[in-house]
Amino acid sequence: MENSVEVKNLVKEYDKFKLGEINFEIPSGSIVGLIGENGAGKTTLIKSILNIINTNNGSINIFNKDNKQYEKVVKEDIGVVLDNMFFPENLKIKDINSIMKGIFKNWNSETFNKYLLEFKLDEKLIIKKLSKGMRKKLEIATAISHEPKLLILDEPTSGLDPVVRSEVLDIFMDFIQDEEHSILLSTHITSDLEHIADKIIFINDGKIVLDKSRDELLDNYGVLKCDDTYLAKVDKKDIVSYKKNKYDCQILVENRDKMSKKYNDCVIDKISLEDLMVLIIKGERV
């Protein structure tokens, strides 16, 4: 499979924060979810890919082209939704259509209007008057109407109610019906990603902690629930990390099936991305 995006040895240093070194790929035709705490470096990574911040090291290829050298060509094929960054909000929705016509070669007014209709957005409305959900839908409609091949979305579902969220996920699934299309989205609402993401990249404190396919992650990891005394008996090499609570103890294990045979007198649950995130960030190691 070809890659839409390849990030190699990326480093970005700030005074108090360092991102990197980061290496990963986005295969064409896939949805890649970027998860991590606020401040873990998700937005910095996205901004580096978009070349709107200056990186200290590394290279980023988008559609096999360097993202700096071929910035203009590459950006014609990218649709972007950034958190809290958009058009001046005293503009009308229909203004976006006429502005974007003068920005993207491939801007398609019909597509845009089709999405407005689908999202029940009245083109005469002023952006300022939109609710958060409507605004997000407008941002997505804007990002997708120049027929991009890659969507880069920073927190596209945060602050949305479940109904709108599922509508938004529908659009994403629709978008990747084309095998050349791919999506990179960052989020801290991990449940959105649990089913639709093909690959999950977990970033913590500026580094990639996990980069695995959804299946590998959710079918492989498990959480063993036991008490303190049992924890002492568990083989050290089976423990990825653990967290002691007041009444129980949770141990993150790999190879769930094998482990539930080995420790057949306790519960080993399937793990959600959210719990996995918590156990890796907050859990202790042995």
């Binding site: 035709g29 949805i31 699934m173 990747i176 019906q177 299946d215």
Partner: protein, 125 residues
């Protein structure tokens, strides 16, 4: 085609999809040469990642239930009774092993186990 997925089940989602399709082939709901939805459209319809569906389809093809013809799509394979039998046997073996494990754990003899099978065979269970 029907596919019902349980999110709380410990069975991996690709396994659930596989099982659902195999069951429908066995029941005759999906007939020989019937076209299956494409990986991407199925992914869209059941809101499951493309790679998960692909894994299920790949394994189904490996096991001979479906065939994918490049550029045309994926179809239900001609019914292969020998194959179906073999798969059924594998499934039975797995359950027998489990039964034996439980028997050993509670010191139930081989004879008692066989007796149990005798009793249940033929009755509705």
């Amino acid at each position: 085609m029907k596919i019902i997925i349980s999110n709380s089940s410990p069975i991996p989602i690709y396994e659930q999809i596989k099982k659902a399709i195999i069951l429908q082939i066995m029941d005759g709901e999906l007939v020989e040469n019937e076209a299956l939805p494409s990986i991407r459209s199925l992914a869209q319809d059941i809101k499951i990642s493309v790679m998960t569906i692909k894994k299920a389809y790949d394994e189904l093809e490996e096991e001979g239930y479906i065939v994918s013809i490049h550029g045309k799509g994926t179809f239900v394979a001609p019914k292969n009774t020998a194959l179906a039998r073999e798969n059924a046997q594998k499934e039975i073996e797995k359950h027998i092993c489990e039964a034996i494990e439980i028997a050993n754990k509670y010191e139930i003899s081989k004879k008692d186990l066989l007796d149990l099978i005798d009793i249940f065979y033929g009755s509705d269970c």
